[in-house]
């Protein structure tokens, strides 16, 4: 079981952080990904496969300031 933004997710095939971000409709340049309490650099999204027990928080920024 993988927890993403508080929701339990199951994936039938190996899914990278990049795959999930694309499928869920996030814009990569506007987000910060926290994987198991550490920020995952964008350079790692493509080769980080989500695995059982992972907790992911995707923080998405909106414009304005």
């Amino acid at each position: 079981m993988i927890k993403i933004n508080g929701e339990e997710k199951h994936f039938d095939s190996p899914t990278t952080v990049s795959d999930y971000i694309k499928d869920a409709g996030f814009k990569t340049e506007r987000i910060v990904v926290e994987l198991n309490r550490n920020i995952l650099p964008k350079s790692e999204y493509d080769n980080t496969v989500l695995k059982d027990g992972d907790t992911v928080e995707i923080v998405s920024f909106v414009g304005g300031g």
Binding site: E29, R30, I31, V32, E34, R37, I39, P41, K42, E57, V59, S60, F61, V62, G63, G64, G65
Partner: protein, 268 residues
């Protein structure tokens, strides 16, 4: 008894604040009296250890006097915590201009302001600039304004765009980094850079457009070293403007969290 008056210890035999004011030579008219952080307009009893400030209205204090006034006016301990603190403010728009002014009023001793833009007339609906600043770099305009609020704090400026290449050198001396950009990609870039490549604490803002309830704007601790203020969802866009009240509410959330972090409070 021994009391503290305008930063100096004083031995006195008088037993009331009015008598002390007279003894110290301050006129009964046009003198503001602050006792233990609280302004009083009535005579009150003087007790051992009281901390008292007498302030002549309309007179610019020197550095030591102003420091003592802030020490007297803030909650005890706060001024002494912030006076040596170093904060980087990344972006001087609606968030950053308000945050810079609040931190200067608090007496945060070292502010480092970073922005590449100039002041234009569309900024005046929410940013802390004046007509006279139109066309000036925001770094220069804000440095001028902060000098009019507290000329004794150190204000460094960099008129540059923050990138992945220069971000580390720009934040290296900071205790706390304040994200105050407008652009969401810039917000994400700075956040990721600070949290993965430094050991600094980051306070960011996201979601303060429109005129929804003020009460949806919150401060959240996302994770260790990462705080986020705003409603999280209301971005500026077609049909949703950025306006002074909610942007200022969010700025105040960021500023207060920065002060709390400097004072050693890690929870929101």
């Amino acid at each position: 008894m021994r009391v503290r008056v305008n930063g100096e210890y004083l031995d006195t035999n008088v037993d009331s604040i009015w008598k002390l004011r007279d003894e110290c030579g301050y006129p009964s008219e046009n003198t503001v009296v602050i006792k233990n952080g609280y302004q009083t307009s009535e005579d009150v009893e003087l007790t051992e250890g009281d901390i008292v400030s007498f302030i002549k209205k309309g007179v610019m204090p020197d550095e030591k006097q102003l420091a003592e006034l802030m020490r007297a006016r803030h909650t005890p301990g706060v001024y002494d915590a912030v006076k040596d603190a170093r904060v980087v403010i990344a972006g001087l728009g609606g968030l950053g201009s308000n945050i810079a002014i609040m931190l200067a009023r608090m007496g945060v001793g070292h502010l480092h302001l970073i922005d590449f833009d100039t002041v234009d007339a569309s900024n005046l609906n929410r940013q802390q600039y004046y007509i006279r600043h139109l066309g000036m770099y925001k770094t220069d305009a804000m440095k001028e304004l902060l000098g009019e609020i507290n000329p004794f704090i150190e204000v460094a400026t960099d008129c540059v765009k923050i990138t992945e290449e220069n971000v580390l050198s720009l934040v290296e001396n900071a205790d706390v980094v304040c994200e105050a950009f407008d652009n969401p990609a810039a917000k994400a870039m700075l956040t990721e850079a600070v949290l993965t490549r430094t050991d600094k604490v980051l306070v960011a803002g996201s979601g303060m457009a429109g005129i929804d309830s003020s009460n949806t704007i919150k401060t959240k601790k996302v994770m260790n070293r990462f705080y986020m203020c705003g409603d999280g969802v209301t971005g500026a866009g077609d049909g949703i403007g950025l306006m002074a009240p909610r942007v200022t509410v969010c700025a105040a959330h960021e500023a207060n969290m920065i002060i709390r972090i400097i004072c050693g409070m890690e929870n929101v």
